[in-house]
Amino acid sequence: MEELNCELLVIGSGPGGYVCGIRAGQLGVDTIVVESRAHGGTCLNVGCIPSKALIHAAEEFHKATGFTAPNSLGISVQAPEIDLAQTVAWKDGIVARLNGGVGALLKRAGARAIIGHARFRDGKSVIVKTDMGEQLIRAGRIVIATGSDPFEIPALPFGGDVISSTGALALTSVPERLIVVGGGYIGLEIGTAMAKLGSEVTVVEFASKILPQYDKELTRPVAERLEALGVTVMLQAKAEGLNAGKDRLKVSLADGETAELPFDKVLVAVGRKPRTQDVGLEELSLKMNGPFIQIDDRCQTSMRDVYAIGDVTGEPMLAHRAIAQGEMTAEIVAGGPHAWDKQCIPAVCFTDPEIVTAGLSPEEAKDQFGETVTGKFPFTANGRAMTMENEAGFIRVVARADNHVVVGIQATGGGISELAAVFAHAIEMGARLEDIAGTIHAHPTQSEGLQEAALKALGHAIHF
């Protein structure tokens, strides 16, 4: 087969890769994007988007179930039922729409997309296995955007009733008993959704608290909600593998005891690992940072003209980080002077209630700047939260004491994910407490909580 040449080759069309390809195309760079599966990567196909679809469906079902009993709104309905296969088909429809959208965007930007498995031959050329055979592509620059896979516990390999998050999002019926191994955000998001759909859910977490990267104050509303939903959370518990009959999960507990938990499905969600296998990285012998590819502030690897973006470069493994890196790398490839100068990468956890963090936690801020001031506003004092029957949570603002520059915002609450942009915006723009306090926040919205938290930090909150 004839070999292809291009200025820029992007391996992987997840959020990082396809954004890089689109931006590079817009900038007039001759670009090829190679994708081994479907455009959109984990995020679009088996991550962010499908999980949010499932969470939405579960929430609707749960709401409807709530109306079968006497409730404060006075709504009554017949006992609802869910056809999960239909739900999954709806979700797949969304995914397909977005897949197609990515392809169209790439095309419109003038980037060529090739479906196939890419493997490095050297730092300047890649062999792509396509349906029609092997294709050699020579490129001036190469961006590695291969993403990540769910981490597999050796004692609990995926298969049968042991599923990954990908499998959980494709279930066509609600398992009666679901064990979630891993109390991180992926496990809790799916576990909560399944509980709302009627599953009896048990979370097995190795650490001493759920969502270990957040402080207790932030996760308390989530823990309370899990309890209210009847989810059993086992902390300091380690999944050791299945029993011989493959119908029970062996779990060693903190006190040294071992328990055998019956299940219908076991979801293993203990993190993700970079997809660095089978890409031929050994041909390049790039400098690594643990299991991840090491990059500098321009996303350059240790080899000239080879870049890496997204999950393959390490934490935080978030789609919007990959998107920002992808866009920046395209600019750099086109000759731009860009370098990573983002002030914060917000993170959202779609548990119930949701958690958003942007910038530094109170402890990190204290370590970095010494004296800090914080202000916290609880949604119990927010009218909009009351009208939505969701008063759990709060917004917390962390600022430097000396100049009041806001360095971190954390929040938990229903629908709080939509405020992630506001939080990041404040930090990225270098807002001070006075700037937030002096901005009119529309009433009645939950966002008023941000203004109140800033006022609280300044010592004069109005509404509580």
Binding site: H338, V373, H404, V405, G430, R432
Partner: protein
């Protein structure tokens, strides 16, 4: 046992009040008759007050620095037998008491509450403005070298004060944490008043109550430190709200990330400007687009090609005139406003003097040091005033007295890093050229490094001012009040001289002398200048007695 009250005695004719400059006793001391109790200072003199009887001190009528009327109760002693005061009299008279255990009555406006307290198990230690020299009642605070909250170690210098005569560093004699500063830079503090309060381990030397009383009293007439003033002052920190007001900082601390917006960051990259070098004018030092533009246009980066525009300077700065500079300002204004100056400028041919000086330096520099022109001028003045003693005098104009001195103490106006000061060559009439040269260089060095003692900076009877090699053709020197004459030395240079048949090059130097025309007539001034000219042009005369 009885009480004996000693009143402040009449210390001089027409003097109605005196300043208590020092106590030699404290409450509880047992004193003998004639033992000195206190020193008071009047406009004219410092007077020691001896005890009239023997007894034990039970009450003091004021603190060092207080002004007291003649006849006011100064001290109460517990004496054997009957005293001259009943307990009731004492009780009514003793308000306010010296120890200040009761706060004085508040004037109409509420007084700032001053409440300084030590942490549990710690004591308060008061450092007072120390006695910095005989007869000095107050000093100007010229610098704080510490701040509230700072931890001090014993002997750390905490402040600098400046008196009429000298600048003095004040060390702490204890270790501890600063709780209170007794004034702002520029304030005039009475000797003995509270300079600062330190929190120390164990018991201190004072209590919160005593301080509250004392400070309420002393701060009342001064600008109240507790008033919420916007400008930063090292005055006592009133407890404000928990969150201090943010200060807009132009300069970022080392390693601090520049605060700005994504659009500015992007533009900076495009311009190739490192934002860490760009000062920010926005809130909290945020870098604005204007800052970036300004930095770009004014020299951050060479733009290549286009003419670089000269930046306009728009800032202004304010500097408080304090310390030495204020002293200089006061002295100059006093002299110029009171003394009608007459200035005479005369040209002196110093060719012979320069030859002589060169010869002497060749012959004796190694043994006796190098001579400059100044020792010759000193010598000439000392000789000239012998004929005209009215030039070596003070005109005490308040009393209409001209005080002529036999001793010739020549002030030498000297430029120091802090400003102009005038060290004094004492008894110049008794010095030969080399002695005065040695004294000059010693004083100049002491003046410049600030180690000159008070008596080396006072007592001059006539002054020399010289701009050295910068020279100038002529100057109009300002008399060092209350002296009556000053001799200014101008630049020496080679000028053409008409010797009757042709021009010859000669070394010439102008002298510019000012006189107090109230007491020195023009004729006498001219005679004096001609005498100086003659002596300097015929330097052998200067060596006659040597």
């Amino acid at each position: 046992m009885g009480l004996f009250t000693m009143k402040l005695p009449d210390v001089g004719e027409g003097i109605a009040e005196a300043e208590l400059s020092a106590w030699h006793v404290k409450i509880g001391d047992v004193v003998k008759e004639d033992e000195v109790l206190a020193e008071v200072m009047t406009d004219k003199a410092s007077v020691e007050i001896p005890a009239a009887v023997s007894g034990k001190v039970v009450w003091l009528g004021g603190e060092a620095g207080d002004k007291m009327s003649i006849g006011a109760d100064l001290v109460r002693l517990e004496v054997e037998g009957e005293g001259n005061t009943s307990a009731e009299q004492a009780a009514t008279a003793d308000t306010p008491p010296a120890a200040g255990s009761e706060p004085p009555e508040s004037p109409a406006s509420p007084e700032p509450a001053i409440d300084i307290r030590a942490a549990e198990g710690k004591g308060l230690y008061e450092i007072k403005v120390p006695d910095v020299g005989e007869g000095i009642a107050e000093a100007e605070l010229t610098a704080w070298l510490t701040s509230v909250g700072a931890e001090l170690r014993e002997d750390d210098v905490v402040a600098e004060v400046m008196t009429e005569k000298a600048s003095v560093e004040i060390p702490t004699n204890v270790s501890g944490k600063v709780l209170f500063l007794g004034g702002a830079v520029g304030d005039t503090l009475a000797i003995g008043s509270t300079l600062m309060v330190i929190e120390v381990e164990g018991a201190g030397n004072t209590t919160a109550e005593a301080l509250a009383g004392k400070l309420a009293k002393s701060t009342a007439p001064a600008p109240a430190p507790a008033e919420p003033v916007a400008k930063p002052a090292p005055a006592p920190e009133p407890k404000r709200s928990k969150t201090p007001a943010p200060v807009a900082a132009q300069r970022r601390a080392e390693g601090e990330k520049p605060l700005t917006t994504p659009s500015v960051r992007k533009r900076a990259r495009e311009l190739g400007i490192d934002l860490r070098r760009v000062p920010g004018s926005g809130p909290a030092g945020r870098i604005t687009h204007e800052d970036l533009t300004h930095f770009h246009e004014t020299g951050g980066q060479f733009t290549g090609g286009g003419a670089v525009k000269r930046p306009m300077r728009t800032g202004e700065s304010e500097e408080k005139v304090i310390g030495l500079r204020r002293k200089i300002a006061e002295r100059m204004a006093l002299s110029k406003s009171r003394i009608p100056h007459i200035t005479i400028v005369e040209e002196v041919d110093v060719s012979d003097l320069e030859d002589l000086r060169a010869q002497l330096n060749r012959a004796r520099a190694e043994a006796r040091g190098k001579l400059t022109v100044l020792p010759f001028v000193i010598r000439a003045i000392a000789d000239a005033v012998a004929d005209q003693p009215e030039m070596n005098a003070h005109f005490e104009d308040d009393d209409s007295v001209v005080r002529k001195f036999d001793a010739v103490h020549i002030g030498i106006a000297t430029q120091t890093p802090g400003g102009l000061i005038v060290p004094v060559v004492r008894h110049a009439e008794a010095m030969d050229l080399w002695e005065s040269a040695a004294e000059l260089s010693r004083l100049a060095a002491a003046a410049r490094d600030g180690s000159a003692k008070r008596d080396e900076l006072s007592g001059s009877t006539i002054t020399i001012t010289s701009l050295g090699p910068l020279g100038a053709l002529a100057t109009t020197p300002i008399i060092n009040y209350p002296e009556v004459a000053i001799v200014g030395i101008n630049k020496m240079e080679v000028r053409p001289h008409w010797d009757g048949s042709g021009f010859v090059p000669r070394k010439k130097m102008n002298i510019s002398c000012s006189f107090d025309h109230r007491v020195i007539d023009g004729w006498d001034a001219a005679v004096f200048v001609q005498k100086l000219k003659m002596l300097l042009e015929t330097p052998a005369l200067l060596l006659l007695e040597d």
